[in-house]
Amino acid sequence: MEHSIDDVHIPNPEFDPTDPHGLGHGHHGHHIITARTLMTVLLILLFFTVLTVALSRAEVWIQNTFDVVLPQWLNIIIAMSIATVKAVLVGAYFMGLRFDKALNSIIMLICIAAVICFLFFTSIDLGNRGAVSPLRATVLSPGGTGYGLDRTYDGISTAASPRPSTSGLPIAEFRRKERLAELAMEEAHEHGRTEPTEADVAAGEAEFWRIYYQDYVDKGKHPHRHEHDEHNYFAKLHFAHHDADGIEPVSRISLENVAESSPNYSKRLTGLTPGLFGDGSDHDAHGDTHNKSPNDNHDAAPADTAETDPDH
């Protein structure tokens, strides 16, 4: 009784004892897909790939050229529908589901049903936190509180990016401030100073925003995409939309207008008052809110911004 692990039961051409009636002989059940079909499917897949890219570029082009901002869901639905068609093609022909036993397709369908349950119920919760009390959906500090970032993990080399203690700042905000300080310092060094003066800071800031928009323009993504800029969190905190040449920032948006200028942020951040804790005019009840916000020491703190009453 050898314990051979490999597949070694050799069917006897004359008589197969396991299949005395010859029912299982041969592989006549296995469908061989023709080369022509495979090639056709490949071409269709490539066509759809080009199509989805083209439609996506077209959207950007329409926005940049005609200033028509198409709704986001359109983009998503088109791209996802095309992807689904491609996936079905791959599954049906390349993976052979169309010619295979139904069981395999059923398994895939059950699996997809599970995925849909997962996505659907999770998004129901996270998308409806503020349904009854807007307060529940309120994020204290967009980008995070910075808590726990300074908890180092000794076993791992963090030399590539030493984990900063951000003093309660979101990491993106922290990096921005770091860069601003660097630029100010560079300005100072240029003028032979060791400590940046106020002028250096201002010059550094101007340089920062120049790079900021330059980066924007260089990428060829944007210059005239208003919708995008409207949602640009950092830009709108300090500068209005670029002027005609698309590079130089011209004016600051005052903090009070931030919430109004950004539908998405205002929705989340000003959800504080109405609903649960008053009738919406009761701002004073929340006057102390920003005391708890870990980043209220920073003028650009969004939570602070949004909670601040205009007449504050």
Partner: protein, 234 residues
Amino acid sequence: MATIDANKPDLPAAGAKSHPLYWKNRGFAHHFRNADEQFDACKLGMWLFLTTEVLLFAGIFCAYAIFRMLYPDAWAAGSHHLDWRFGGLNTIVLLFSSWTVASGVRAAQMGNNAALIRNLVITLICAGLFVFIKLYFEYIPKLSAGKAPGTFFSYPYAHDPHEPLWWSVYYIGTGIHALHVLIGAGLLSWVLVRAIRYEAYGPTEYTMVETSALYWHLVDLVWIFLFPLLYLIH
């Protein structure tokens, strides 16, 4: 051990190579009733395994969807940092490799070992190309610009405070996918080696080719969704 006994009647030797892995020398495990049943079982097992892969990626898609819903601006901003040309190129590379693998299975079914080898080699080249594009044109420039996940994020010109999250989802999603590309390439290399050395696959014995191909197609499927989500939707 109960099941897989050696049971070696004299082989029909005509023209057959002597190695036990040569496809005409292959039988089936003792606990199956016939080779077809074993083939079906293996394929069913592979499909079940593929469902687990789909659900694994479902976690990443779920994180993507949730944060997209919560922080649409960050996702739009993040998407703008990606270049659709590289993503599109990689999509084409993967689709093409899917076709070669499917053709490889067909070659095995037809008993055309040379075509099988040819197709597998092309597929492996495509896998290498995919990973190369990913690393050289995408990961490395982005990482060196500071567009990194989580605390490694050091790009100062972010457009949204949640952009580090976008990069986390981007790197985890594409990274785990790239890992699957490598695993799939490993499987196909094994098939390739056996095809070259033993002519191990033919019309009655191509289970390994078929299941590895299924895995490879799944990798393709995941990318078919990752590509528009990451590169095209903004």
